[in-house]
Symmetry: C2
Subunit: 335 residues, 2 copies
DNA sequence: TTGTACGCGTTATCAT
DNA sequence: ATGATAACGCGTACAA
């Protein structure tokens, strides 16, 4: 089924059919009805490949996410998907499992496909082959969650946000606060959050407890449990993200602590699910869907209005602490 | 940048360039090197639209999911994405927010794009305009999670699985078991699970408590709390999915029940996150990633080997009960 | 082993 | 308002 058959069926030229679909007001009402009827009869669907070839644009945006297993990224993806739908764009997502190799592979596929732009979350903007390729081929892109002076980014101020988490706990009366994090060098965000932790501790004039670093998320519970047995004086665990916080709560329970009575636990990301936990999760919320929306907006604005897309296009979105049941003032017995 | 320029740069014909990319072994080593060098110099990327137009296939599969907000579907999506990557396919996902309108819209976009097949989760296969369109246009598709005698499906036996959840609780000693569900008529799965509930109750010879139906997931906690205040004798809540179970646990706590001491709670879906909850979630696990993999396998097999794709291609995957901390024998005091 | 030439389905230009 | 026709970039007979 193609435009020619529809033209024949409707008794008009292909040009008219094309116009009926793309500029309905450039065709008389009578013929429009004729054409639409014919198209419906023949179940005609315009061929996007042909259109793309002709117009040289695909109305498609590539999306590169570390994983679908962390709600942070799917909430962001939802924001992207909704905005894309509103704007008439399609998205083509890939996951990278945090590996540089898959980052590069996926970008190659996206380029080959002819996406008009890419939204990506990389582990480290400083050494991303994917970003190099994007720049070499002059493909518009926006980094989400990352923050780097050399690239257009949409993110929150991770360092400041994390410092605020510490300040919040300090204000509650906690003095022995330990941070739980994935591999600190695995991503720029992990590093930024750790720096925020140190900053928060210093500003509150508290002792800097050793970082509880969890190499593999799968044995996070065990790892944290072990760490807690070594460090028996902490009254609060600030975690680098919400998924980690859930595991920290679990580890705390396994060590015989009640949350938040004996141990306060905080997360970072503000995933929707955190509010349905019992105890509900205190978290530093990022506007995940918004990060997705703004990333796509930036890209589309650049595509449609030729606005520049440089490092100074970057958007810093507000973070917001969501106090909830998993944190409270320390009980006196543990001091 | 196109194939002609590369041909000129390499001093060969376009056909040779095309061959070097598609059938490297059909070209002499010397010319291959020449061509590859030229392509690299010019940063040539083959144009997928042109290729698709010419070959009439896009190596792309459409995916239609209700939402990204439920890990069930993103776990499935992950399975699809991984399999697709292995098989050299790309995916183009849309979410439908459980509305028939968006189902249809998205399918139209996918067809227009020229996907070779579609994997979808619909609310009700019996009255899905999206399915009608797919059939009318002769587009291969597989339903995931749905189960219907008229379509190729990949799912579990929802009814039997749910009956087994009831049997498990009955064996633990529970006699007053209430079901918590979203709108029963919103999806075939909700209906099937409710039937499983009734079946399980009958087989265990227990009283059938009124269904706790939660119209809107957003006030699920309140709704369940109210219901629990009306029904004070239940000792177990079997929920239609894991997200609902998390909220049921919360509601139980708000009513002063300890889980599982005073109230056992079970979910359905087996989302990965359930294991990190405290208490960890007893759930009837579906092999979500597997459902994705098998759906895509079915589709690709049909595409590449012309195997038929009918209702009797359907695959029923095994479900598995995952007992965990949220369920236990009822305490005697509440009997 | 390599090259020539046609057509995939569409949009855009130019006539009418 | 409508029609004829030339591209868009590629793959693939077929010819050499």
């Amino acid at each position: 089924m193609n435009i020619r058959k529809v033209a024949k069926e409707a008794g008009v030229s292909v040009a008219t059919v094309s116009r009926t679909f793309n500029f309905p007001d450039k065709v008389s009402a009578a013929t429009r009805i004729k054409v639409e009827a014919a198209a419906a009869r023949l179940k005609y669907v315009p061929n996007a490949s042909a259109r793309n070839l002709r117009t040289q644009n695909t109305k498609t945006i590539g999306v590169l996410l570390p994983t679908f297993a962390n709600p942070v990224f799917t909430e962001c993806l939802q924001g992207i998907a909704e905005t894309a739908a509103e704007r008439g764009f399609s998205i083509m997502p890939f996951t990278t499992a945090y590996t540089l190799e898959q980052e590069l592979d996926s970008v190659k596929k996206l380029l080959n496909f002819g996406v008009e732009g890419v939204i990506l979350v990389v582990s480290n903007p400083k050494k991303s082959l994917a970003l190099d390729l994007l720049q070499a081929t002059n493909t518009p892109y926006v980094l989400a969650y990352n923050w780097d002076p050399d690239h257009p980014c949409v993110s929150v101020n991770n360092q400041q946000a994390f410092a605020e988490v510490v300040a919040y706990l300090a204000a509650l009366g906690h003095s022995r606060i330990a941070m739980v994090s994935g591999q600190r060098h695995a991503s720029d965000r992990a590093q930024q959050r750790y720096e925020g932790f140190v900053q928060g501790i210093e500003q509150a004039n508290l002792p800097l407890l050793p970082l509880i670093e969890v190499p593999f998320i799968d044995n996070a519970v065990e790892a944290i449990t072990h760490a807690l047995q070594a460090e028996r004086t902490a009254t609060a665990l600030v975690c680098s993200n919400d998924l980690m916080a859930m595991r920290a709560i679990r580890a705390a329970h396994l060590c015989g602590y009640q949350v938040p009575l004996d141990m306060s636990v905080t997360g970072f990301d503000g995933i929707r699910l955190g509010q349905d936990l019992t105890p509900s999760l205190t978290s530093m919320a990022q506007p995940n869907a918004s990060i997705g929306r703004h990333s796509l907006d930036l890209l589309i604005q650049h595509l449609t209005q030729q606005t520049p897309l440089h490092a100074d296009s970057s958007i810093l979105l507000p973070h917001q602490l969501q106090p909830a049941e998993s944190s409270a003032a320390p009980s006196h017995t543990t001091i």
